[in-house]
């Protein structure tokens, strides 16, 4: 059997179950919609505009996440093969990480990780 077949099944099952669950409330619960009830919950402050100024820090976190995620992938691949590669692979990955360490130091120094 293709090992991805159960994955497909669980995917479909989760989607169907989740949709049914979230639609269930429409039929079981009372339905008395009113304009006030359908406002967003903002402690009495009305207005449906979410133009919040987002901090650019969130975005910097996401950038760093991508780049270090790729590093992790390379590390995983190396970890899987390192028993055959031995010292050679170790040296290779050390160079790789040393180069990325420069980037990490730059990030720390540049203050991109300082949340205030």
């Amino acid at each position: 059997m293709n090992p991805y077949l159960p994955v497909l099944f669980i995917f479909v099952f989760g989607a169907v179950f989740g949709t049914i669950m979230s639609l269930l409330a429409k039929f079981l619960g009372p339905r008395k919609a009113s304009a006030v009830k359908q406002q967003v919950f903002e402690c009495g402050v009305s207005g449906d505009d979410t133009r919040v100024r987002m901090s650019v820090k969130f975005y910097m976190t996401a950038i760093l996440f991508i780049l270090f995620d790729i590093e992790t992938i390379f590390l995983f691949l190396w970890a899987r093969t390192f028993q055959t590669l031995g010292w050679f692979g170790f040296g290779e990955i050390m160079v790789f990480m040393a180069i990325l360490l420069v980037g990490y130091i730059y990030v720390v120094k540049s203050g991109a990780l300082e949340w205030d």
């Binding site: 650019v56 975005y59 950038i63 991508i66 780049l67 995620d69 790729i70």
Partner: protein, 100 residues
């Protein structure tokens, strides 16, 4: 077994959709997403060819393409942020007037 040509045709269609998105949309975010689509079309060709030829080189190329795509997205979106903070818009039509 699916013949390798099928994958190539699919990749061709995917790439064309990316090109069309690039031409039609004038919003930098969509432009970048179209580029991701095009890169994915290339990845598909690499993997299909790698299987057809029975080598792993294509898969390793995909590895590098994904690395490049990540870097491209990071730098590209950094520029989007920077442009938006500076001019308040990221429509390519407007940005074209910045020449010179």
């Amino acid at each position: 077994m699916v013949p390798v040509e099928h994958y190539f045709v699919l990749a061709l269609i995917l790439f064309t959709i990316g090109v069309v998105g690039l031409v039609v949309r004038r919003h930098l975010i969509f432009v970048l997403m179209s580029i991701e689509l095009m890169l994915n079309a290339v990845n598909l060709v690499f993997i299909a060819a790698s299987r057809a030829l029975g080598t792993l080189d294509g898969q390793i190329m995909v590895f590098f393409v994904i690395t490049v795509a990540a870097c491209e997205a990071a730098v590209g979106l950094a520029m989007v942020i920077s442009l938006y903070r500076r001019y308040g818009t990221i429509a390519t039509d407007f940005l074209r007037t910045l020449r010179g």
